[in-house]
Symmetry: C2
Subunit: 215 residues, 2 copies
């Protein structure tokens, strides 16, 4: 079928996540009414993004430089690494401003259903990173206690989703990291801040009960 440029544009827009035919038509008209101020700049921003944005070779985060801005930031605590599934999770944690360490983006979750195995994820890279991080540094004779102390400071935080795939991935990563002298932690499960008990699922309430803390 001979598809015109307008139908072609609408069909491509309708394939984006969260958009359907109606919203794609609306966006196409919005763009066509603003060709110089929006449509062409957006096209250029996409071209530029496609060629300039790359995955950080160290952590997998997206940035225009590699290593990324977070890995380059010397003000961050390199002894704390937060393991997340997606780049959007890096953004979510960064928005809180509560974490000043570095990240490791797995690039997905293990999934038997979707056929995603460990080799599809950035797990080997994580192990190599841990290897380098935990490598015994040359210490003067008798300085064993000092070396031990440095290593015990390393912490890996598993910030993976509380889904079946997320938790099985966390379990697998945890297993692979056991051999390194690291502290491994995971995000707390419980009642979301602002959440009403009545609207929560049973699993969350049970977890929150079991993980209760002294008031």
């Amino acid at each position: 079928m001979n598809e015109g440029p307008l139908d072609h544009l609408i069909r491509m827009l309708a394939g984006l996540p969260g958009l359907g035919n109606r919203s794609a038509r609306r966006i196409a008209l919005h763009l066509l009414e603003r060709r110089e101020t929006l449509m062409q700049p957006l096209a250029r921003a996409m071209e530029r993004g496609a060629s300039e944005i790359c995955a950080c070779e160290a952590c997998g985060n997206l940035d225009s430089i590699s290593p990324c801005g977070i890995c380059r930031d010397h003000g961050r605590d390199s002894a704390k690494i937060c393991i997340v599934a997606q780049v959007s999770d890096v953004w979510a944690v960064e928005r809180t401003g509560a974490f000043r360490g570095r990240y490791h983006v797995l690039g997905g979750l293990l999934s038997a259903l979707d056929g995603v195995g460990p080799e599809e994820l950035r797990i080997d890279l994580l192990l190599r990173r841990m290897e380098a991080l935990c490598a015994p540094v040359a210490v003067p004779a008798g300085g064993f206690a000092e070396e031990e102390k440095v290593q015990q400071n390393f912490e890996v935080i598993l910030a993976l989703p509380a889904t079946v795939d997320g938790q099985s991935t966390a379990h697998y990563v945890c297993d692979r990291l056991r051999k390194y002298p690291l502290k491994i932690s995971r995000l707390a499960h419980g009642v979301p801040v602002g959440g009403e008990l009545d609207y929560l699922d049973d699993g969350t309430i049970v977890t929150a009960l079991n993980s209760r803390s002294a008031a």
Copy 2:
């Protein structure tokens, strides 16, 4: 502030109608995971659309040629013209397949609040079109009845939204068209097909009652 290409792309996407920051981030990641297959083709489709898609000089519809495909289609009834506010309304009527005439896109609605006057809309063009359409054709002496017959076949259908602005625009256009020998009609108002009376506003029910037809 020095904005990176990723933040720039997300900010531009977030400005599109129906999208916010979260959906823009999601779309940006989706695009970056499919650079060759989606991101660059979409950028090219936008560039191409911005340069190739134009408004039809006759009716104002968007197409890659002018006059547009609908105005060029000789299978369509040129004696019936459907007046709509937006190009998306042309698409909405076309999807039904129930109208085989031509269109005239006003490009908006009269609005005192938004300061849209008749000169902002494609109303002059409509009048010129009517002028050409209703111009008395040269008829042989005594052929008056024949000419009259041709002219009475012309029909203008006002398919403008049932809002305050839509109805005042319809009123204005109707007034301006009175001097031409045209039949002027408008879409019926009433209960939408599949609509429950209980969920309809009072105005619609009153209109449907007043316009009731023999069962």
